[in-house]
């Protein structure tokens, strides 16, 4: 009789009856993170025979080993954070904006154009014009998919994705137009002499001076977006629409209007990320200015569950992993894929811990045996 219980489920899962206190849910996530480190350590040992502790130390060194490296990590994390903060409103509304790449690029093009054509403006005014131009460009890139979604219910995933290709082609065009020096097939560092249009340095470490203001601008945007998403009427509407469009209509929210408004905002902040990347970091524009960060930022936004402040943590984590990965790849002659495996393992555990935050697990001990 007991044999008949052969494929009885051994584990039963059910939704938690109440909300976990914050410390418990974060405890679960931290445990998940630690587990992921252990598992990636084992994997590293198995595939490469290296000492995982040494590998982790190298990662740490690669990301924050020197002041310069730390600054680069901070700078890249800020750019990623800016994109994630921009994507969050769209995704929270369940508008699948995978067009951040394009929005960054057009923002970057607008920034570069200002640097090239308006270099005679007073520095502060120029920066303000660049900010506005980059946001306007990104906003336009968001406007069309938003409008089409609102009007004709087109699929925003395909639309925003295709807008990326248009942006890449546009970038190629402008790179050719602004090529400098001739024949290099790149724009080169713009205004390298007088640094017109470069974000001025806030802190000087005597070596690399072009960060500083990125941090201020992006953190300010993050804070403003946090307030917008959590305390403004618009932010509330976004949450309602994301949960149920029907409820939103019922509550008198003009859903189509909100769609367009939110996507323009989302695109504008991604465009601003283009400004941060061009004026604040590379001082040039190329088709790799976005460099896949428009997609990485989606992970950041989701991991943080669209909470802009929590996104700070996750953008640092992801950039840290990237930098560390590059370091182990070069110092141990490992291929870049190993580091991507580690990133994958860590993300898997982080996402997996959400399951344990929301569900309880019960093991079906000894059932059937006593029948």
């Amino acid at each position: 009789m007991a044999k008949l219980h052969s494929h009885e489920p051994a584990i039963l899962m059910s939704k938690r009856g109440e909300l976990l206190p914050t410390w418990k849910s974060w405890g679960i996530r931290v445990i998940g993170f630690l587990l992921s480190l252990i598992v990636s350590g084992v994997v590293i040992m198995l595939v490469s025979g290296l000492n995982p502790a040494a590998v982790f130390a190298t990662m740490l060194d690669g990301a924050i080993g020197t002041t310069k490296r730390s600054w680069v990590t901070v700078r890249d994390a800020m750019t990623l954070l800016c994109i994630a903060v921009g994507l969050a409103p769209a995704f929270k509304m369940r508008f699948w904006n995978i067009g951040a790449e394009g929005q960054i690029l057009v923002g970057g093009i607008a920034t570069a154009a200002c640097m090239i054509y308006l270099r005679s403006l007073p520095p502060l005014l120029l920066v303000l014009v660049m900010i506005c131009a980059s946001m306007a460009a990104g906003g336009v890139w968001g406007f069309f998919p938003g409008l089409f979604k609102a009007r004709w219910n087109t699929n925003e995933t395909l639309f925003t994705l295709m807008m990326n290709y248009i942006a890449i082609q546009l970038t190629s065009f402008f790179v050719a137009l602004w090529e400098n020096p001739f024949g290099s097939n790149s724009v080169g560092v713009i205004n390298s002499q007088n640094k017109q249009g470069w974000l001025p340095n806030l802190l000087s470490d005597g070596y690399n001076k072009d960060f500083g203001w990125n941090v201020i601008i992006v953190l300010a945007v993050t804070l403003v977006m946090y307030l917008y998403m959590n305390h403004s009427k618009h932010g509330y509407e976004i949450s309602v629409i994301g949960d149920s469009e029907n409820t939103a209509r019922y509550a008198g929210i003009r859903v189509n209007h909100a769609y367009v408004r939110t996507i323009v905002l989302s695109g504008a902040i991604c465009g601003l990320a283009g400004f941060v990347a061009v004026s604040g970091a590379s001082h040039t524009i190329s088709t790799s200015t976005a460099g896949g960060r428009g997609f990485t930022a989606i992970i950041v936004a989701w991991l943080a569950q669209f909470n802009s402040v929590v996104m700070i943590v996750f953008s640092f984590l992801l950039v840290f992993l990237q930098k560390g990965a590059q370091a182990i790849a070069s110092s141990y002659n490992l291929s870049q894929e190993v580091s991507e495996m580690i990133t994958g393992i860590i993300l898997f555990f982080l996402l997996g811990s959400e399951f344990f935050v929301n569900y309880t697990i019960r093991f079906n001990k000894g059932r059937g045996a006593n029948k």
């Binding site: 009789m1 008949l4 219980h5 052969s6 494929h7 009885e8 489920p9 039963l12 059910s14 939704k15 938690r16 009856g17 109440e18 909300l19 307030l227 305390h231 403004s232 009427k233 618009h234 932010g235 509330y236 949450s239 309602v240 949960d243 149920s244 029907n246 409820t247 209509r249 019922y250 509550a251 008198g252 929210i253 003009r254 029948k371």
Partner: protein
Amino acid sequence: MIALATCAIKMENVTKRFGKVVANNHINLELREGEILSLLGENGSGKTTLMNQLSGIYFPDEGQIYVHDRPVTIASPKDAFDCGIGMIHQHFKLVDVFTATENIVLGLEGEGKFDLRAAGARIAEICERYGFDIKPDQKIYDMSVSQKQTVEIVKVLYRGADILILDEPTAVLTPQETDKLFDIMRAMKRDGKSLIIITHKLHEVLDVSDRVAVLRKGEYIGDVLTKDADQQSLTDMMVGHSVTLNIDRPAPQNPRPRLELRNLTVYDELGVKRLDDVSFTAMSGEILGVAGVAGSGQKELLESIAGLYPVHSGQIVFHRPDGGGSTNLVGMDPLDIKRTGVGMAFVPEDRLGMGLVGSMGMTGNMMLRSYRKGRSPFVDRKQPEGLAASIWKELEVVTPSTAFPVRRMSGGNVQKVLVGREIAQEPAVLLSAYAVRGLDINTSYTIYNLLTAEKMKGVAVVYVGEDLDVLLELCDRLVVLCGGQVSGVVDARTTTKEEVGLLMTQHRKEGA
């Protein structure tokens, strides 16, 4: 004879919990070979949960199931089929663009090339045997509700089921269709099948079944042979004590026209007429009931009034309580209606999909109606937080906190949150659709009392309901819809269930 019959199904000590809620508590249920068993119980008494454990959707936490006296483990719908158990769910699981045959054979595994024609022939044979009126090559979208249900039945018969479970099969049927279904059930019984029908309609229980098993709040109360039972005894078993509904119904005070519908006609997306020349007036200080078979235009009616459904022609005129003139609401969306100063509250049928934001707590849901207040771009949480706390207390909502997502509350509590919020708006018109569906008796009475209290405040309450007993005892007047038309307006105090039932199935152009 009955004593000798073996059991088609025997459930022994079956227990199922959802979190802390015990949906089925040590249930012992028997289905004898070749009988029709009614599983009777109020909404939420655990009938469907129990049956879902036979059809492999849920797995019992404790207990043992026997099929034809053999112990079995049913961990998936496939296991259920292997045991010869087929369940016909309340919501049909059919592919619209496929034919009956295609739907019936869908998902079946077999060796070699599939012979659709042979399948069609077998289906035709099954139909003939039991007198089903479906054509195997008819597309699902061309079928009536009852034909779709028939396809579901044929589907399980085709798979060789000899034990059939029908989950509230009559909820969507007209009385005539119900009679036909019962004939089919009897035919299947004669053919040696064993059947369980889940229902909470007593006359149907008495009509079709051999034996009745009663569940109440997850407990097995007992069983009785149908020939020894009557409506009264079954009600007693079902609710525990004898109930006449006894809903308090004070006379309307100073009724004035509040909401006047004139020749309202609407079409759905597919161009099908959903409301046809509907005219009636809802008065202040009364509860106007809307009766009708499911899908007669109730949803479209309320959504049109609330500004959520496009109106083709006609007028919806709101007469202001202070005598401040009238406004035609046609062409307005909910925001326009609000801005015009029309106090309109709406408790929609789809509570979590339309009335509430499932992922938010009570506070967030209170804000749905009030978040626009003030000129600041930021929302005020204090006032909704206070409202949430008072509804939590006054309506005895069971929830760990006002931040707990309403999606994870039980149905009755969800409804209390929704109704509480809508009433808090101090509306002039209160629309409600199936306000007590799925609620237990106590919560239902809470809702009745709240609606009656609103009526006494001078609100025009529109109550779309399905339970005729409630409609007759709660409402002052009844509008009966049939196929999108008003087939009659009757005084709920003097009319009879039979009269309303007749109107529900009879098109009467000259009604209203």
